[in-house]
Symmetry: none
Subunit: 406 residues, 2 copies
């Protein structure tokens, strides 16, 4: 089923906001059996909204509209749609009291300006917002279904998932099957060589795409034929096993957490160049307190020495960014925090601090388990943020490979 | 001058690629004196391209079109545009030889499939590509200028900068001045009330937009009148001073870093619910080693007690998420890491772990300077990742306000 998408916002046209909503909607609609056929972005103006609605190709009977449902003065979407649908907004006393009550619980007062969020249509229906106060609208005009949602991404997503996507699934024969294989520790060209035979032998109906990022390469497999997709994924799994940490929406920190749980092992971290990023990612996972005890961010040498117990001789002789320091960091954080495993990262994130011998991007990752300590050198690139992300990913991947072999 | 934008690609509609090109173009056009008034995304199909060209609002005389100029089979943009412009592609022998020569220097042979990249129009003109082989096209049809560019972001940008933006600047009176005021610690509605008088009194030519995020609200002021923008920004600065941490591309962690440097103070962190996020953000700033020593991620109670020295009585009596624990965390990390300031965060990130008395989202932030310790309670919402981000922002903002008053 072909669907039109209208995203409303001067913000989007002026490029102040990247239209990630459109990508999210396109992606979820296609997996539900629909297809965004036509997409227009227009400004916050009643006339432009009406013009856009009139430009939708004739044979398209479902329209998703996002943006402009907030309480401030430039949000004209609701007005434009009420007028287009020839409907009347009426005050929803019940919802207004509910909103006031909700904010009262947080010791906040609901400003009068929010009153327009408590309006509801006479003929159309309300799309509930599971996580925010701006509700959506569903109108039926001239044989077309119009779904109007807020532009705030998390609210839009919650309402798509609770109302619009189920509606699309109901009307559709079956979606495209899209699966993603997530790899790290290998470049796109290396991966292409490894699975080249599989890709060359694929039927036309199965599409493959390589999506390289600095922290790894995703491989996307898609087709209307679900079995063929799963079979292709299985074949790729076999040929690139070592590099695959997960599938679809898996995050490396989730996979590592599952492996720690399965092995009943606890973890602590000692971070220098990543500055807390590894701990941050580990604790993004709900339930991470089951295995992650905490860590020491030893950003300065004084903390490395005085709080983490790295020997001053090691720091003086080999430097803070060295095999030797990484090993002591991993072993010491493990014993000081009394965990089964200790994971350490030290590197030169840049842009300054590099030398000919130890360039920006040089990173050491070490993992101590009380018996042995593994340590590995990496040479990343020159951008500070990318280096932090790549170092963090390499550390989590070292932990994954270790746990996988346990 | 109003400009239409057509971005072509099935990848965009399916949401496999986020349309960052549209944002980049919108942003650069607006600062050059143009304005993207209308934007459509369509699939790789000649019919859709023609339909889209026919839907462009009548009074728009400049059109930027991106995507579909590569050598592969689904790139139909050039064909569709030649037909629309009633022009004929002729083989550009000179350019073909130039391409062959260029690749020969890298010991590569130019595949025949690239021949279509050496075509040029009879009536239209070529837009040179400073960094790639796919050239752009410039047609003049029925009083309209059409600029056709590749979809590869870096090639598109290079050609916009070398050809299209200078053309727009030539035709325009002058660009828009855009300034952003960055606030945190106040909701959009509260901010709207505080600066309502300023907003209401503004001339029509000055536009104001509120851009709410969970970690703060940006206020964007824009106008062709640069002085009026700066004056408005100054007025808002005066009326909302306490909540404003910076302007334009300022990040809170950069501002805090500048204040720490200016006050010649060092910092350490003790993080529970944020799990290292505060350290991560602080160390995203190049030069942060001048003031940030490091921290302790005391995610488990054992680390709080044994490594950070929080009294077991405090943990038992008041709990890990309490005023008392936050205070001890801040004071102890300060003394243990020997820094001037100690910043601590403890909270219930969720989704589990909340009680009626201590709900998910409850967070305490404390800041110790050796004489006094400030501590503040926050009640955020239910989402784990948002809570971590909000807690981190609140902690950095507490530090900012403290340093501001020093």
């Amino acid at each position: 089923m072909n669907i039109a998408l209208i995203t409303i916002g001067n913000e989007l046209l002026a490029g102040f906001t990247v239209n990630t909503n459109a990508a999210w909607i396109g992606n979820h609609v296609i997996q539900t059996g629909g297809n965004i056929y036509w997409h227009q972005t227009i400004g916050d103006s009643k006339e432009e909204i009406h013009d856009s609605l009139n430009q939708i190709p004739k044979d398209i009977n479902s329209v998703i509209i996002t943006g402009g449902l907030g309480p401030t003065h430039d949000d004209v979407t609701a007005h434009a749609l009420y007028e287009y649908a020839n409907d009347t907004p009426v005050f929803d006393e019940e919802y207004w009291l509910y909103l006031q009550d909700k904010l009262a619980k947080r010791n906040l007062k609901l400003p009068e300006i929010n009153r327009n969020q408590a309006m509801k249509p006479e003929k159309g229906t309300i799309i509930p917002n599971p996580i925010g106060s701006a509700r959506g609208l569903h109108f039926h005009v001239d044989g077309r279904d119009l779904f109007i949602l807020p532009g705030v991404p998390r609210e839009m997503k919650a309402m798509m998932e609770s109302t619009v996507l189920p509606w699309i699934a109901d009307q559709s024969a079956g979606g495209l099957t899209v699966r993603t294989i997530r790899t790290t520790g290998i470049m796109e060209s290396g991966l292409a060589e490894k699975i080249g035979n599989i890709v060359d032998a694929l039927a036309d109906e199965i599409k493959i795409a390589f999506l390289p990022q600095f922290t790894g390469v995703d491989i996307r497999v898609s087709s209307a034929d679900k079995d063929a997709v799963n079979q292709t994924v299985n074949e790729i799994n076999l040929h690139a096993e070592k590099y695959i940490y997960g599938h679809d929406h898996d995050q490396l920190e989730e996979i590592v957490g599952q492996l720690l749980n399965a092995n009943n092992l606890s973890l602590s971290t000692a971070e220098s160049c990543t500055g807390g990023l590894v701990g941050h990612r580990l604790t993004n996972v709900s339930g991470s307190s089951d295995y992650y005890l905490g860590g020491i961010i030893s950003y300065s040498n004084s903390v490395k020495e005085n709080n983490l117990g790295v020997a001053i001789e090691t720091l003086n002789k080999h430097g803070a960014v060295s095999y030797e320091t990484a090993i002591e960091m991993a072993e010491n954080v493990r014993s000081k925090l009394d965990s089964d495993l200790g994971l350490a990262i030290t590197g030169i994130a840049g842009p300054s601090g590099g030398t000919d011998e130890k360039p920006v991007g040089l990173t050491y990752v070490a993992l101590a388990d009380g018996k042995d300590t593994i340590v590995k050198e990496f040479r990343f690139l020159i951008d500070r943020i990318l280096n932090k992300n790549a170092s963090c990913q390499a550390a989590l991947n070292m932990l994954r490979l270790y746990l996988h072999n346990e």
